[in-house]
């Protein structure tokens, strides 16, 4: 604030009008200073979570990062005869076996072409660990809760309990805890 002092006209002995002018000047400058000033604390992060984004059938999806253990490049998948279409097969994850899931069959997505990428998301929930095939893994992103809306005609073809919501730019957030459960996926004959 000492700057304002410096900016005062050196001729203090001028007429009362000059004094007024000085005051006005001071208040203007103060106003600017206040406007330009930044608060000392960092701006508050809105509530939200980190998500892993991936593409499937030209649609962007997201998983809560807490459920995604890693992105793994599956070398080869062994098909298991007599399993439902959403089970692509099994593969070896550095030793132990995991099942590989094709979400397109669970979410009624239509493109049935071969997957665009060998990058598989390894998802772990309380009941199982599985690999989810993707066309592309785009990366990690923070999505604030406010960006997510619960209803939208966009995902009406996907069973409702699998969807947590959709972001403003059309990324569908899937619920790992509802998707990767025994009830949904189990094959027991």
């Amino acid at each position: 604030m000492s700057d304002t002092d410096d900016l005062q006209p050196t001729a203090k002995s001028s007429a009362p009008g000059a004094h007024l002018e000085a005051q006005l000047r001071r208040s203007i400058l103060k106003g600017r200073a206040v406007k330009l000033a930044r608060p000392l604390e960092k701006p508050e992060v809105p509530p939200g979570k980190q998500y892993v984004l991936f593409v499937l059938s030209r649609q962007l999806f997201a998983f809560d990062v807490n459920y995604v253990e890693e992105v793994f490049q599956i070398k080869s998948i062994l098909p298991v005869p007599g399993t439902p279409p959403y089970i692509v097969g099994i593969a070896s994850l550095r030793g132990p076996l995991i099942s590989i899931i094709d979400l397109r069959h669970l979410c009624n997505l239509h493109e049935k072409a071969v997957m665009g990428s060998d990058k598989t998301l390894i998802v772990k929930t309380s009941s199982m660990r599985v690999g989810v095939m993707t066309d592309e893994v785009t990366g990690l992103e923070f999505i604030p809760d406010t960006d997510i809306s619960a209803e939208s005609p966009v995902f009406s073809h996907i069973p409702r309990r699998f969807v947590e919501g959709i972001t403003r730019d059309g990324t569908i957030i899937l619920s790992c805890s509802n998707l990767f459960t025994t009830e949904t996926l189990e094959v027991n004959e």
């Binding site: 080869s76 062994l78 098909p79 298991v80 005869p81 007599g82 399993t83 439902p84 279409p85 089970i87 099994i90 593969a91 070896s92 030793g95 132990p96 076996l97 995991i98 099942s99 009941s127 199982m128 660990r129 599985v130 025994t182 996926l185 189990e186 094959v187 027991n188 004959e189």
Partner: protein, 878 residues
Amino acid sequence: MDADFLKRLQEAFIEEAHEQIETIRSCLNELEKDDGNKVQAVESLLRTCHSLKGSARAVNLRVIEMTCQIVEARLVSYKGSEHKVNRLFLDRMNDYADGLDQVVHSLEVAEEPSVQHLERVAAAMTQDEMAEALRLGTSSPIILGTDLGADSGTGSRAGGTGTAASSADFGAAGSASSGTSNEALSGATAAAAGSGGLGAASGGGVGAGQGGPEITIHKLGTSAWSGLEQTGGPSTFDREARANQSAYAMPFDPSEQTGQYVRFTGTEDISASGMHRTASMGVLGSTVRLKVNRVEDLVHGAEELVYAKLVSDQRYIDCGELQLILNQWVRRWQRLRPEVENEVQRRNLYANDHLVSQIGSSNLQEFLDLHDSFVGKLTDRLNSLERAVLADRRTVGTLIDTMLEQSRELTMIPFAVLQDLFVKMIRDLARDEGKQIALKIIGGAVEIDRNILDELREPLLHLLRNCVDHGIESPAVRTAAGKPAEATIAIQLSAPKSGKVEIVVRDDGCGIDPERVKISAVEKGILSFDRAAELSYQEALGLIFRSSFSTRGTVNELSGRGLGCAIIKDKVEQLGGSVEVSSRIGIETKFRLAVPVRRATVVGIAVTVGGRIFVIPTASIRAAVRASDQEIRVVEGKRTVIFHERLVPMVSLADVLHIDSTVPIDDCTLLIVGSDEYPMALLVEDIHGEQEVAVKNLPAPLTQVRNVGGATMLKTGDLAIVVNMNDVLTSAVLVGAMVPVAQSAAPRSDAKSKPQAQKRILVVEDSITSRVLLKNILESAGFSVSVASDGQDGWEKLLQDSNFDLIVSDVEMPRMTGFELTTKIRKEAKLKDIPIIIVTSLASLEDRRKGVEVGANAYFVKSNFDKSNLLEMVKRLV
């Protein structure tokens, strides 16, 4: 106390409590025996209760603390005195152990500790004490400072060791205990267990003869554990324990960890008399405690090492291939060499003649010489590499085989570990049914692989349940027949021979009447009256192993729906064993089980089907022949092959697995599988070598997939599916019959992409075999089939998705029967019009009428089962 710390303490407590409860039960068994070491048993009980009391206090389990206090006080009076432990006390103590179990178990599943049982026991024991004090005119040492409802005023309330029960703990039990107090009083004063009811109720105890060595536990000092545990274990406990010492005593050794323990004991020979005195409580050879999952990890690790052997084999083969390539090169070179040398000579001469630089050709000459020596060295190195690989393979092979053997030994445990479980079950059953039974286990020291034992547990429990339910008569009937009122069930194991051990379960009950069995079988539609009449005595007895069988008219809760014996046979055979039954009416029934003592490694043959490799366990294959060499005929629309002068039905494995295969039959191989009675020729495209196979279970969510036994890694490092031949044989029967004889030019469409306009059928059936059969029949006929595993499951599925064109349901199912399901369906608007076919083994008119009554459209009896009839009906109704 910090919540996290309390939780860890509780976990440690639960662990300790399990052991204490086991010790208590063992001691009680000792007390039950006529010749048991009672003095020591009482001492041990005292110690255990005391220690349990302390631990319970540390984790705020007041009820346990209180009850232990009471028990301790009671025990003290028996300690070192002439006072004989009576029946009533033993019963109370058994209840006490049960009560403890309940509390601990409820803690384990993280519920509120379920303390009612224990509270009742405590109240009952207090009553006993007071009653006795009253009778003997002595003062009661029991500590309770609370009113017990009906009993206020009786007995003295001596101050004890200062643990006062809050009235809240016992309030609820107060009214419940008044019932038992009458019992207690009359039990204490009644001279003999006179009245049949009381005798039965409190006398339905079990005398358990032990056949096994005492199981001893050695605790290692903390230092021995420090290397084995991660940080955050004992040391954290120690520190925090000391910090909290003033408030809570830490009675248990902080070196004890959570987790289950495997106990090792010295083995014992089976003496000629077969009965064992328990060994002294002293040392039986040094023992070690280890967590079960660590041992299992070790065993799995050893099994994975099998791949090292396979890989080594592969390297040896690779070496051989390299040598081959090199040899080819060398041979070509040998042929070319003279020419090249001549050329070089010629150039030299030319260079000489024309005074042109010789550098080029001398380089060439040099190279030639270098090449020879290089190739020579390479060949030598390759040869020695090959020899080294072979030597390594042998060494590695031996090491791994030894390790595998030793690790399998690690998982051998004595049969006697099942003892307590059997004792408890028999005791409870006997009490419930008012029968008196003594259980003897002889030869419990025999060691069996723990996995096999695990699988045997259920069948044996079923067997014992059957014995009690169907075999053993009530005391009244027995005495009338001149038998002792107390029945005996004996489980005897003999020393293993050729890898199998024989387990004989004998009861001296009423035996099995073959005539009743035959009648029941005919009623159930399992076989016709004429056929039944022809059966021999043995064959008739064998009928009890057939599914859906029970000679009891009503559904008996204990033995299920008569499936007990069928389950036993299935399970035992799955393990690679056998079971047979013999009996003398009115005298005894004997079940003879033979099971392998160790798990065997699976050896399998790799085959190609639909271009992919599958592994079939060698044990399932009887022979392999080339299809082109065999005579293949079409009989009644089915392909069959002549093998050893028999007509054997032929089925393509590709068809069973729903995989496309376009390889012509002539190029294929036939595997003869199945049993002597029902052989089958399985068509596969090609077979490769045999290899040892470590079968891994399919990962979640693939709990059980038809035809698939698991997966394994091949020598090449690729994964392959291991085929479950039992499933395949079941499926094959149907599929083979349905495939048209002429192979269509277009490949069969994969089952997964069937057209949408298909009719949908829901099959509701609890038996896996029947379910698979029905599904196969219907799918082969072109329907889309969904399955449900019982009535409730079917109902839920229908609520979710009412879009079915037909429902095929069994009747006898757990949770909801077919009749109940049909009734519900007919009441539900969305579903009431769906046609329902009931398929079952019940053949009586009554049931058929019931079926129509509840609204089924058709009723099919399984034994009259003709596929074509069923399909006709299905097509008509859909």
